[in-house]
Amino acid sequence: MDKNIRILIVDDFSTMRRIVKNLLADLGFFNTAEADDGTSALAELRRGPFDLVITDWNMPGMPGIELLQAIRQDAALSKLPVLMVTAEAKREQIIAAAQAGVNGYVIKPFTAATLGDKLGKVFERLENAA
């Protein structure tokens, strides 16, 4: 796995952005940027380039599911892997995220091991698909 990939962390809580950033650093990923909702994330992505988006669902402004849909509808961003890290844990929400094209789904609260495992699986699938 290339540790130099650029990752955008999207969450309205500064604590959670910092947690994800630190856990990524523990895994060797230091090239990160942050956004606090879907709208600012899209602007950041269009300034790009990024290799991965890790986003919350429940945010003021544009929520994570709409960010995911916007990414998939944007020709320049549509192939970008998206990992949802969220407390939204209803079966229908997970199905909706899958139908919108999510690459992985981590339910809060999560452990560092779970985040590492899910990141590994996202990249493994992408490498296999390449």
Binding site: F13, S14, T15, N22, Y105, I107
Partner: protein, 222 residues
């Protein structure tokens, strides 16, 4: 008309129905006195005194009617299941509740960042400790780093509790502004794609576990 504006000849106590008690007898005597004084003012063509005595009589007579109407309105509102209007005092209390809850989110956020600062400092200190690869000390250091990572992840409680508190703030503000609330206490805007926040036992359906989510996603080809 407020009590401070009460006509000067008005009985000092609130009027009571004519029940034959000493109180009501006193009130009737006061009315007779007001009527005689009003008649005398009229005969003497004293318009100011006449108006004051008649105003006092009207005020006295209207009080039971006004009180009765207020009581009737309250009973009708209860019968139709209406809630009493949230007055200025209630608005103030609700605003205070929102401010206090937002303060809790800010305090927990600061505490969580402080903890993350300490974890980062511990990690920096660990990097200064010498350890031969494969030694017991190296294993202990690796284990300590893993614990620090889990301590970092555990700070996610602030995000989860914060989401729930901000949802409560949203519900309280909806009550304050009179926006529509469903029977379950859920604001309509929260039912859309914005998300609902963490599930609360006893209020929300049990959340899907990470394992169940993994199986569900596998079944969908992920």
């Amino acid at each position: 008309m407020s009590r401070s504006q009460r006509p000067h000849d008005l009985p000092a106590t609130d009027p009571a129905p004519a029940t034959g008690t000493a109180h009501s007898r006193g009130s009737r005597q006061q009315v007779r006195r007001l009527l005689r004084a009003a008649l005398l003012s009229l005969e003497e063509e004293d318009q100011g005194a006449w108006r004051a005595h008649v105003d006092a009589l009207i005020y006295w007579r209207s009080q039971p009617l006004v009180q009765g109407l207020a009581r009737l309105a309250g009973e009708l509102a209860r019968a139709f299941g209406e809630q009493p209007h949230a007055g200025a005092a209630t608005d103030e209390v609700l605003q205070e509740a929102c401010t206090r809850l937002s303060h809790v989110v800010e305090v927990s956020e600061r505490a969580s960042h402080d903890t993350l600062d300490r974890i980062e400092q511990c990690r920096a200190l660990l990097s200064l400790l010498p350890a031969q690869p494969g030694s017991a000390a190296a294993d202990a250091l690796a284990s300590l780093r893993a614990h620090l990572s889990e301590m970092t992840a555990a700070q996610g409680y602030q995000d989860l509790t914060g989401q729930i508190i901000l949802r409560v703030v949203d519900i309280v503000r909806s009550v304050q502004t009179g926006h529509e609330i469903t029977a379950g206490g859920q604001h309509l805007s929260l039912r859309d794609s914005r998300g609902h926040g963490p599930a609360v036992a006893g209020l929300d359906p049990a959340p899907v576990s990470q394992d169940a989510a993994n199986h569900l996603l596998s079944s969908l080809g992920l």
